[in-house]
Amino acid sequence: MGRSSGGAIVISMVLLLAACGDGGGGDGPGGDSAAGEGGTLVAAISSDPEGLNPAITTSGGTHAASELMFSGLVELDADGEPTPELAESWEITDDGATYTFTLRSGVTWHDGEPFTAADVKYTFEEVLLDLHSRTAASVGNNIESIEAPDDQTVVFSFAQPYAPLLQQLDVTEAPILPSHIYEGTDPMENPANQAPIGTGPFEFVSYDPGSEVRMERFDDYFKEELPHLDEVVLRVIADEASQLSALEAGEVDWLFGAPGPERERLISDPAFDTLETQINPGGSNCIMTVSFNLDRPMFGDLDTRRALGHALDREQFVERVLFGAGRVAEAPISSGIGFAHADDIELPAYDTDEAEALLEEAGWVREGDGTRTAQGVTGVEDGTPLAFDFLHFPTFSQYAELFRAQLAEVGAEVTLQPLEPPVFAETVFTERAFDTNIISYCNGADPEIGVRRMYDSDNIRPVPFTNAAGYSNPEVDALFVEAATTLDPDARGDLYGQIQEQVAEDLPYLWVVETESTRVFDADCQDFSPSGHFAETASCG
């Protein structure tokens, strides 16, 4: 490996020099004002974006490829706290139900038109609350009105206090579209979806489906001096290993994720730099979670669920599936949401003796090394084997393989069923035809975004990625309502603490690992951020 990465460095430097030469010579105003500091960044994305309008979809592919060209009202800093972006400042009434935003002045769209409050009002009312599924489901279900009293002011009014709004206004959850392009058209069919006009740091140049998206520095970007790069090219490379080969050959400079087995090597390789983050294009603060279908008599018994929890060696998941890019989940809410994560929860620890004892107690008996069978298990016919299916996305196959192997140790027979996301969602949430499954539940920046849906009994419904377990506890329901309408973060934190204690006791899920993503980039490029605007402040060479 040492030899080939040495070669890779040489190649990448040669290519970089060539690229800088091209950019400086040919590129007009962009090249002039940012002379010498810019360069071209080539980033690998793992799927074709299939469109470049981030407001009409939550698809990770579309978002990864388009967010650099758009802006949100706010952006979220490293701690998930909102900082000004299109909105310069904001005021929240004491009852927490009205938010008044003052917009930055002098912002222009990539086509030169001025950005105004009408754009914000249009984007929310006609696009986001209709077509952006997360924002439609959260903000959309609570909002009363959005008003634009003048060009610089937008007012969001809610019937009840609504605490998490500011976390939902970044470019991922609420990118703002130009109303002068979209108004009066069907936003799904507007040609600008393939050639977008935004207010972001980079403006669109070309989109070659299945191959690449090219964009160049937007000279009138509202953040002074930014961006530094002259050009950003997003290259579609589906396979992680191929992405890494392309990085080593100098064909790309930036990967959104490092292939597990090579993560350690990349971190220590001086030719590359890395950036650890909880943010993924699909959502942030994700926990790989095993759901029990509580409608199944087999999982009606708490001891059985607890036993299976003890059978899981979660450290092994961190070591052999994540290769260190994450940690064992210590509580039902991600440690990435500081105020809500509880640090004193006791989840079943790895202990196969305890697991086997609990299974015996529950009536699952075992002869030799075989699969256990029921003998006096409540609601289960005697002689039924302890065998069940495990549904997963094909991309999560390594979790599934390890899960099956670990449970086999205590006499449970697991059949893997990899299903593409649309089929998975229907099988689990509409038909409820599964015994167990694994889902990456992304908690988001606030428990209201991604946690509540997992436990709320109203969320046992045929909608994807809601309450997969079919868990229902009136106490927990009430606590979630209270937490959503409480404004004081400490008080909210207490409520979420109580929720976590209760669900850890009821164990409708097994929280396996919190996943992290490792961005890898050529050491000649610097100053990236983990957010959607990852290349806003970056420069190469």
Binding site: E240, A241, L244, S245, P259, G260, P261, E262, R265, Q316, E319, R320, V321, P394, T395, S397, Q398, A400, E401, L402, R404, A405, Q406, A408, E409, T415, L416, Q417, P418, L419, E420, V423
Partner: protein, 265 residues
């Protein structure tokens, strides 16, 4: 046929495949699914073929995989042989409207791109060896049918068939006694290719993430290995070699058979 070196090697390879397929799982030292050793241990005395990223024994996997691969290949081959030869002979000998109809059906089955169909069926209905066998069996025969027919179309004009016909031989008799042996050589060559293709398609589907994860097959193992190919060659290369040997064996045996039959003529 065993007088030729290629034939001997081929028979040995196919024999190896069949032998390992029959007894492999019983002599495998470990459960191929169990987490048994360290992650990505390189080949050694303990783990002759090394371990995969999860720490599973690749050697035991290859031994178990032989049975699955053998099962799939043999079942598909039988389906193909039955359907393909029957259709090809009927069309090639009878000609006229029978040929017309059979060839339209063959053409139709042939334009159904089988790898694509297998992808769609498995992606839509979920992975499983049963549906893979059905899809491949029901779509792989046209090539065989066409080659058999082509051979017959050409043969039936030949003197010896004319002669048999002049002697008043019945249709069935001519087909079985005169045409079948002559059409067998190209048919067997094609069958060798088909079995090879089946093993390769199974592996390619697994590569695209559409294999059955509950049956240890070489395709499954190669897929498990290919994602770490850059850091460890053994989890992908050993199952890959197993595929190469099995495919090679089938081809060599088909070749040798072909040569032998050609010589007899």
């Amino acid at each position: 046929m065993v007088r030729r070196p290629g034939g001997v090697i081929g028979v040995a390879m196919v024999g190896l495949l069949v032998g390992v397929g029959l007894i492999g799982p019983t002599v495998a030292p470990r459960d191929p699914f169990a987490i048994d050793g360290p992650s990505l241990a390189s080949p050694s005395g303990t783990y002759p073929f090394g371990t995969d990223p999860l720490g599973r024994d690749v050697w035991s996997g290859v031994l178990h995989g032989a049975r699955t691969s053998l099962l799939v290949a043999v079942t598909v081959a039988l389906l193909v042989l039955a359907v393909g030869t029957a259709v090809g002979m009927a069309a090639g000998y009878r000609a006229g409207w029978v040929d017309d109809i059979l060839m339209r059906i063959t053409e139709f089955a042939q334009v159904l791109p089988r790898f694509f169909l297998a992808i769609v069926v498995i992606a839509l209905f979920g992975p499983g060896l049963d549906r893979l066998i059905v899809v491949l069996g029901l779509t792989s025969w046209p090539l065989l049918a066409r080659v058999v027919r082509a051979e017959l179309l050409s043969l039936r004009e030949r003197e010896f068939v004319e002669a048999a016909r002049a002697d008043g031989a019945g249709t069935m008799r001519i087909v079985v006694r005169e045409l079948l042996p002559n059409a067998l050589a190209p048919a067997l060559v094609v069958l060798g290719l088909v079995v090879a293709q089946v093993l390769l398609i199974e592996a390619s589907l697994a590569f695209l993430g559409l294999g059955d994860p509950n049956a240890v097959s070489w395709g499954y193992l190669a897929n498990q290995g290919q994602r770490v190919l850059r850091v460890a060659w053994w989890p992908a290369v050993f199952p890959g070699l197993a595929i190469v040997i099995a495919v090679l064996g089938c081809n060599l045996v088909a070749d040798a058979l072909n040569d032998a039959l050609g010589a007899r003529r």
